[in-house]
Symmetry: C2
Subunit: 233 residues, 2 copies
Amino acid sequence: MQKIDVCLSPDLIHLYDLVGKAVVVVDIFRATSCMVTAFAYGAVEIIPVEDVDVCASHREQGYLISAERNGVTPAGFDFDNSPFSYQVDRVKGAKICVTTTNGTVALRRSVQAAQVFVGAFLNISSVVRALKAWAGDAIVVCAGWKGKPNLEDTLFAGALIDELVGQYSVADDAALMAWKQFNVASSDLITAVKHSSHVNRLLGLGIEKDITFCLERDRYDVLPHLQGDKLVL
Amino acid sequence: MQKIDVCLSPDLIHLYDLVGKAVVVVDIFRATSCMVTAFAYGAVEIIPVEDVDVCASHREQGYLISAERNGVTPAGFDFDNSPFSYQVDRVKGAKICVTTTNGTVALRRSVQAAQVFVGAFLNISSVVRALKAWAGDAIVVCAGWKGKPNLEDTLFAGALIDELVGQYSVADDAALMAWKQFNVASSDLITAVKHSSHVNRLLGLGIEKDITFCLERDRYDVLPHLQGDKLVL
């Protein structure tokens, strides 16, 4: 049987052999939710980069630019890290360069995998379909918060496992714990994440509607994946 | 209110500021369960070291020596990594040098904390009492398995939090998840860990009775703590 594992933080990725595997990178609040939304609104390419200056320099090459550090957006960027900021006409046909505190780090550290998909609750069924069509093992890489595991990415990993059991078996304890965590929380994810420190940090930024939006399942039927250093559909 | 956090793996310890805090190091299967058992049987000192050769060299200095790598004991050592191996007369009054795959690593990486306690289900009430008497914040450092989080250490962290809420608040998502994980499993820990990869690894070594023993609560009323590079009562 195929195996599915969960890496709870990019700081643990050195412990996982990604070669030949399908990786799903997830940063529910809010990088991968934003990326999925951007592609749903017609973006044609997203380049994730780790550095704010590198991101800014992409404007000269015709990219729209998006940056987030510690939940907020530095001045001079086209988008902040809210999925609502991508629901605009100029996203259609756009190439976008993105840097965020956690999500882009997780993406860049996953490059040696055979396939890197961008996952969020917003496109979870698209991810499930891709992993059902995949013949090898899979690893969910949670972006976490500055290296620490977080609840919402772990819940997404558990939700994915919940859809894949039967075809995939749970590889290790982190995956087992994520699955259990999701089973307990699945009937009401919003309440489950209310006590999360990361969510409280975000609520302090006044983005309650982002939280609700990012926990919505299957709003979009798109599956961005990494091709070289770019995300495309 | 005091805060309690959980570091799910020694490979994440760089993300936690241990200075001025009380740390509880836990390696349920089986390093800290063995240490607690050894002190309960009269050991006066345990030196945790990371290297098998360094451990062996302590014999010349009058130490009994104990080593484990990948769940098994190299030839020529006095104890293996079973708590039953310490339930013998010669442990009384002994100084012991120990090296294990995970537990000793977690201990050595926790040295900058103000206090480092050795925790296990076997002595959990002793740990709870110490943390109730402690005035600062606390962090549970889980030994995990070769850097990856594991279920049993996470469950212990959750059990500890469950006893301390009221005096301590949960610091971050890892602690929140550990607590939730324990709440779901608390009525039957043995069944809960049966699907754990680490437990299956250990069951392959034929140590089912160790598993049951290490999940027993409050068999011993001892609290080893780190003093310099040595564990003492």
